[in-house]
């Protein structure tokens, strides 16, 4: 409990600092006076709920931060998903090196609100999961290679640690830790102002790991498809939709695929806001978990 609070304070402080930092640069409006931030606006994506650069629900092949080949970029984010019967807060940060490698870390706090009480865990019972990610760009340039069909392709790993081992095992999961392995392909169709991403994730995670990994029904890695499509309305605004297929490993509760429709706004390179309507389907004893996803990212 104590560490939880310190974590939280530290994160809040970091976000605030980053906020001031970015506000300072925003004052300078659009005058580009730095030797960082070499990438074009919004082409770095936003922060995925696992911390990787991507859409909201799925990682993209882009390397996060606005750094180019000889630059380092970084950002921090806070995301809130508000559902009828649950909510989840995610905070995290990433650092991208030379448009080649991305390291990310995120903490997801899934609050069961009154459902926790109904299940005998206590109202507001919270699952906490840390996600450590690494992503490597293999080849391709999603943005500049407009004369070729070849997308930008990256591979990544997300190592997840859930803090409720006893409970996830009680519901049928085989483990409280797990690794997701994914490959993503991202392509900007600039002439059409469209950005497309497909990701295939090899995973055992139940509800992205909030309910552990593997289960009584299945305990093997499965390939799941994830996709994002974004339409650029202007340099600063994109709208789009996402889909994330999920396994169904647990006998106690069905798990649904996820969808969302989003709008992302990047007033400057230092800050972006994403708002989405997300349909997360059934989660344990509650159906129709549709709600709002809101995220803010600051960085350079």
């Amino acid at each position: 409990m104590h560490t939880f609070r310190t974590n939280r304070t530290a994160l809040c402080a970091a976000l605030l600092l980053a906020g001031f930092f970015s506000a300072g640069s925003t004052l300078a409006a659009d005058t580009p006076a730095t030797n960082t931030g070499g990438k074009l606006l919004l082409t770095g994506g936003v922060s995925e709920i696992g911390g990787a650069a991507g859409g909201g629900l799925t990682p993209w092949a882009v390397i996060g931060g606005y750094g180019t080949n000889d630059q380092i970029g970084a950002n921090a984010f806070y995301t809130r998903v508000q559902l009828p019967d649950y909510h989840m807060d995610v905070a995290g940060a990433l650092i991208g090196f030379y448009n080649r490698v991305e390291f990310s870390v995120a903490q997801q706090r899934f609050n069961t609100e009154k459902v926790g009480g109904l299940l005998g865990l206590g109202n507001g019972f919270t699952f906490r999961q840390n996600v450590y990610g690494i992503k490597v760009r293999l080849f391709g340039d999603a943005v500049l290679d407009q004369d070729s069909w070849i997308p930008q392709v990256s591979v990544g790993i997300q190592h997840k640690q859930n803090n409720q081992e006893a409970i996830v095992k009680f519901v049928g999961a085989k483990s409280a830790t797990g690794n997701d392995y994914y490959i993503s392909a991202t392509k900007l169709y600039l002439a059409q102002s469209l950005l497309a991403n497909v990701t295939v994730r090899f995973t055992k995670a139940n509800q992205i790991g909030i309910l552990g990994f593997g289960g009584d029904k299945h305990n093997a890695y499965q390939a799941e498809f994830e996709g994002s499509l974004a339409y650029l309305l202007s340099r600063k605004i994109a709208i789009g939709a996402e889909y994330r297929q999920k396994p169904n490993n647990l006998g106690i509760a069905r798990e649904d695929n996820w969808y969302d429709a989003f709008i992302a706004w990047a007033p400057t390179k230092h800050v972006s806001f994403t708002l989405a309507y997300a349909n997360l389907g059934n989660i344990v004893i509650k159906n129709h978990q549709r709600g709002v996803y809101a995220s803010v990212q600051v960085g350079f």
Partner: protein, 166 residues
């Protein structure tokens, strides 16, 4: 039994030989033909972009855009060093022609190939993106619709392969 195979093999060898000879002759082509090809790559005319020419305000519109583009490049600390000591008036004329040709306007591009023009400048990807931003700003200032801007940028972006050196 073996003769047909032999024949096929011989024919195949002959074909390969002919192909390689043909390939070797390529460098012997007249250099003006080579130049024309390179310049075409620097200004890839695309009839499909004709409708967007008007959205850029035709040639007068392009002149006004490129004028502001160069002002932005000079004001931008990331691109200033590259343009401080060159004949900017000439580059602006070449840029207008180049954009005009890409948008299938009534122009011809007579400037250097992109590889030639940028050789040895040591342009990085960040410099390249900075220039794109300065162009976006100029197009936006002259009310070129965002989606028309992207049509042009999609033709310019692949040139990064011969422009970026680091």
């Amino acid at each position: 039994m073996q003769t047909p195979y032999l024949k096929t093999a011989l024919v195949a060898c002959g074909c390969l030989l002919a192909l390689s000879l043909h390939a070797q002759q390529m460098p012997g082509q007249t250099s003006s033909a080579m130049q024309a090809r390179q310049m075409a790559a620097s200004a890839p005319r695309d009839p499909a972009l004709k409708p967007y020419f008007a959205e850029f305000g035709g040639k007068p519109g392009l002149k006004a855009i490129v004028n502001d583009f160069m002002i932005n490049l000079m004001a931008d600390p990331r691109t200033h060093p590259f343009f401080a000591r060159v004949d900017r008036e000439r580059i602006k004329r070449e840029l207008v022609d180049q954009f005009c040709v890409i948008l299938d306007g009534p122009c011809t591009y007579t400037g250097a190939s992109m590889a030639e023009a940028h050789r040895g400048l040591g342009i990085t990807r960040a410099d390249f993106n900075a220039l794109v931003e300065d162009l976006q700003k100029a197009m936006t200032k002259h009310d070129v619709p965002f989606h028309a801007q992207n049509r042009l940028l999609a033709k310019l972006a692949p040139m990064h392969k011969v422009i970026i050196e680091k």
